[in-house]
Amino acid sequence: MSHPHPTREALQQEAAVRLATLQGKALSSRDRMAIPSQDMPSQSPDARRANMGEVALGYTAEQARLEALRCLQCKNAPCIDGCPVRIDIPAFVKAMAEGRDAEAIAIIRRNSLLPSVCGRVCPQEVQCQERCTVGKVLKSVDKAVSIGRLERYAADLERESGDFRLPPVKPETGKRVAVIGSGPASITVAADVRREGHAVTLFEAFHKPGGVLIYGIPEFRLPKTIVQQEIETLQAMGVELKTNFLVGRTRKLQDLIDKDGFDAVFVGTGAGLPKFMNIEGENLVGVFSANEYLTRANLMRAYDTGRADTPIFKSRKVAVLGGGNVAMDSARMAVRLGAQEVHLVYRRTEAEMPARVEEVGHAKEEGVLFHMLQNPCRILGNDFGLVTGMECLRYTLGEPDDSGRRRPVEIPGSEFVMEVDTVIVAIGNESNPLIRQTTPGLAVNRRGNLVVAPETGKTSIDRIYAGGDIVLGAATVILAMGEGRKAAASINALLATPVA
């Protein structure tokens, strides 16, 4: 590292000194913009390479107050337009700037059900913070007000204080709703529907609830206790949880309505079918989907080799393919599992990477080696069927494609070999075929995602709604939550209508 890693205490002290100079002063916009953007305290790269603990440690009280004071309270609040669930950002930030933290979290909770989660995993730099006036004036999105970190601070404070009050649940209506999957979309629907007094059963295929928040996102980025607590909140509200239940196989989707008497169903099963590249050598031993690699490590706890029965491949040199958050998670997990070298291979440039900027930064600090404008064209193996390397091609960027990002164009004759023993494919997910294969009449698009009415989240079958990645393709936690909110409102409206 070029400069020593600042400790949490140092950052706190610096903030305390600065805060003291501002105490009791009426701040102009100029004063506010002169406050330096507060760095997130984090474990030092050397320490965290060897543990699974959370990397970002969260703001101190002084830092949170100071960061909140940077907000200009813009009348037109451009940040709200950048938030998929339209949290009243200026209002909660103002409350924090004035030390009313409990009020801040109450404001956030009006729109977001999972603030501890979203404060950690939202791509704020392309949402609320991208629109922030402070960032615009200072000509860098990095200098925008750190809305996500403030959200996390407020949510953590509430959780740690134990002062969380259960959302009120209306009297029982006698109506029953099945929610399929237990990731972010489903958690949102379960809460919103239960609040109206309807009985809710959450069906999860795995042995533990939480969906991608549990099997996919690693502990070092999102501690599992936070997710467990969200699920426990639902259970305390009266939501029933059924694990090891695969809708489509254990019970058909339509049977939940026809045989089991549910009045409505929400499908939030996620994307859940890993994409591969369809290149030679992809089924060699040592090639894994990021889903498999992360599930073994996270959900099955394979990192705990002394206790876990689930094995994980022992790797020396790892290549991770892709540029999203899942690619960063996989690469950083490989570092923690003891790989000597971890290479991240992406066919565009860093500017096009969909990963959160913070995760890219963390991955680099942890020693992940980035290789841009490269992509394998085949995976090489030995006589035992084990991976020995990848033949790669170099790329250049051409005209923008449908996604608006510049299209990678391969450079003919640029082949070269990268020696690795493990390849982790993190290029996204397709929709899982199970529900559509076992539910006649359920409309899907060309990609196999469920087709829903945009305003209501209703599928082609009455009483069946859907949202999250099964509809959107691979997206984000906050978008899944937004979709869930919408579908829950439709379900509540449906169930409020007396049967004719």
Partner: protein
């Protein structure tokens, strides 16, 4: 929690468990399997075939060979104890119709998943010729049950200790040469056996279904760890299978993939034995 209702040792290392699983018993069809996890904290998830089910009692029958950590733990469980997680039924059911004459080949433990398929095929009005094979007599399982269903039963062992002394491919080849030749072959057993069954039937263009048992984590399509190459394309055993056209499966690749964690597993199992030996010694007051 799934209570163990009964337990039978079918051979040296093959066990049968009847366990409570009402929903699975109700929905399961021939060809399907379950994912079993002994404990939810640190246990692994392994696929096991469903050998039988009783929807009225709400139970399923699992038959397994003790090969790894989880299967040993399962074998050690007494009647009345429980299995924490069972997910299923998984996989696409066997396509059952009246084909005419069906040859069903079961090798070793493969006889267990073959049994419900034979049941289904018989019920659909097919003539069933069953070939069962194992290394020796003690490893032949479910012979009486198969005999009760089959129109013709051929038992073979590698060492001749029971039935014919030959590999299952020998009677299979003879049947292919019969006129009229059989209409369908279903072969389930160790990968090497399925591979050679497929090679045996290929020259006769006898359609041959095989049921693959690969490494899985979730069993729902999410991880892709179970993928195999079938006709040059990648398929997931859990959602596209477990049954595939045996003439198109790349068995060599599949067998290599099955060995992916061998060293780790052996070490884990060795440790597990050390632990249980140690705890036995402790109980006996040796340390």
């Amino acid at each position: 929690m799934h209570k163990i209702l009964s337990k039978e040792q079918l051979s040296d290392d093959v066990f049968l468990l009847r366990v409570e699983a009402a929903l699975i018993a109700e929905e399961r069809q021939p060809g399907q399997f379950v994912i079993v996890q002994v404990d939810n904290q640190f246990g692994e998830r392994i696929p096991l075939t469903i050998a039988d089910a009783d929807p009225r009692e709400g139970s399923i029958t699992l038959v397994f060979q003790t090969v790894g950590k989880t299967t040993h733990k399962l074998a050690d469980k007494p009647v009345g104890d429980s299995i924490e997680s069972i997910l299923g039924p998984l996989g696409r059911p066997t396509h059952i119709e009246r084909f005419g004459t069906v040859v069903a080949v079961g090798g070793g433990i493969g006889v267990a998943p073959l049994y419900p398929i034979v049941q289904g095929m018989k019920k659909a009005g097919n003539k069933l010729i069953v070939i069962m094979g194992a290394r020796n007599k003690s490893l032949i399982i479910l012979e009486d049950r198969m005999r009760a269903l089959a129109d013709e039963l051929i038992v073979c062992t590698d060492d001749g200790s029971h039935g014919r002394k030959c590999l299952v491919t020998e009677p299979l080849k003879e049947l292919c040469g019969r006129s009229p030749k059989p209409d369908l072959c279903v072969a389930i057993g160790p990968p090497i056996m399925m591979k050679f069954c497929a090679e045996t039937t290929r020259p006769f263009a006898l359609r041959t279904l095989v049921s693959l048992n690969t490494i899985m984590v979730d069993g729902t399509g999410m991880c892709g760890g179970c993928r195999v190459t079938v006709g040059g394309e990648t398929k997931f055993v859990c959602v596209d299978g477990p049954e595939f056209d045996g003439h198109l499966v790349d068995f060599d690749n599949m067998m290599r993939r099955l060995r992916a964690y061998k060293t780790h597993e052996e070490a884990a199992h060795h440790q597990c034995h050390l632990d249980s030996d140690l705890s036995r010694l402790r109980k006996e007051g040796h340390s």
